[in-house]
């Protein structure tokens, strides 16, 4: 089982002071405290880092970190936390409306794809005509962790679809993408206003990845019949 992708994102409504150059300029030029607001199409800074397979975004209403094929979970977590710490020193966002960690886990199989579908049917579904006739299966669950919510998806997948659906922007190494595998897509988020603190983000990300790992491992164990 491997962590294939990790995304950490925060959303905020108040423009971070460090990024609010339009308001600063307006206030400076008019001599009065004023709010210039946002531009209609938003203003985003996007950075693609090939060496570390990262996609970074800093915007007026959201900041996101995305890493693909990390060396380990800890490397992914550390890079993510370092990114937010570094940007926070500059952007200085205050209240955040939402924080989320989405992780994508894969367990590689060397069997044919159709056999993996059959395995999913056998382990997770009842033998009813609707399921038996389906050319493919997957399922979604909604889970909870206190006041945090989780969207959980799992199913069999092939390389082609992973590349098309999950890797549209961030750099990745195609040769390291498995041909046939089972996936767990774990989207862990908190929709609640919170004062941003690096320590809070650090704890949230660690907790989210640990929980996702446990859920993914549980799923893959059922599938492998362990």
């Amino acid at each position: 089982m491997k962590l294939f992708k990790l995304i950490v994102a925060i959303n905020y409504t108040e423009i971070p002071s460090g990024l609010n150059y339009r308001t600063k300029l307006l206030t400076l030029l008019t001599g009065k405290e004023q709010n210039a607001g946002k531009l209609p199409f938003g203003e985003n800074f996007e950075l693609r880092v090939n060496g570390k397979k990262l996609f970074l975004n800093v915007g007026l209403d959201k900041t996101g970190f995305e890493i693909n094929q990390p060396e380990s979970e800890q490397v992914a977590i550390n890079e993510g936390i370092s990114f937010f710490k570094k940007v926070y020193n500059f952007a200085q966002w205050k209240t955040i409306d939402r924080i989320g960690v989405r992780s994508f886990w894969v367990d590689t199989y060397s069997i044919e794809f159709s056999k993996l579908i059959e395995l999913y049917k056998e382990k997770f579904f009842r033998e009813v005509p609707l399921i038996s006739r389906a050319p493919d299966v997957a399922f979604a669950l909604t889970l909870k962790d206190g006041n945090r919510k989780i969207n959980f998806n799992t199913g069999p997948m092939q390389k082609k679809q992973l590349v098309e659906v999950f890797l549209p922007q961030a750099p990745f190494e195609e040769k390291d993408v498995p041909e046939t595998f089972a996936f767990v897509d774990h989207d862990y988020y908190l929709l609640e206003k919170n004062e941003y603190k690096n320590a809070f983000l650090e704890k949230f990300v660690n907790n989210a990845v640990l929980l996702a790992k446990t859920k993914a491992s549980e799923t893959f164990k059922i599938l492998r019949g362990k």
């Binding site: 938003g42 950075l47 990262l54 050319p135």
Partner: protein, 110 residues
């Protein structure tokens, strides 16, 4: 998921998840670089944590710093000339309290 349900699953994935792929909508020009170092140097990181501690709790930060300084000054004075305002144990207590408060604020803002 096989190719037969590719279009369906694409909708399914984006509809059931809060954080979409890619994490953010592309609204600007993406810059590409080969590599970056995201780590903040340790000394700078400590300085930032204390700066944040001051910003979030200015009175506690000032009081704890004053406690540490008074305690330290009193102990140094005692060591140098055996004169003190507070008994050295009390001065030590002040220092420990101050350091404890600063550490708590540092950890909270790390």
């Amino acid at each position: 998921m096989s190719s037969q349900v590719l279009s369906l699953s694409r909708t399914w994935i984006s509809d059931t998840n809060e954080i979409s792929f890619p994490a953010v909508l592309s609204e600007g020009k993406t810059i590409t670089v080969d590599d970056i170092d995201l780590n903040i140097p340790q000394a700078q990181s400590i300085a930032i944590a204390f700066q944040e501690a001051y910003k979030s709790h200015p009175p506690s930060f000032v009081i704890s710093t004053v406690l540490v300084l008074i305690g330290l000054a009193d102990i140094l004075m005692f060591l140098e000339s055996s004169i003190y305002f507070f008994h050295p144990y009390i001065a030590l207590g002040l220092m420990v309290t101050g350091i404890g408060m600063l550490s708590t604020m540092y950890v909270a803002n790390k």
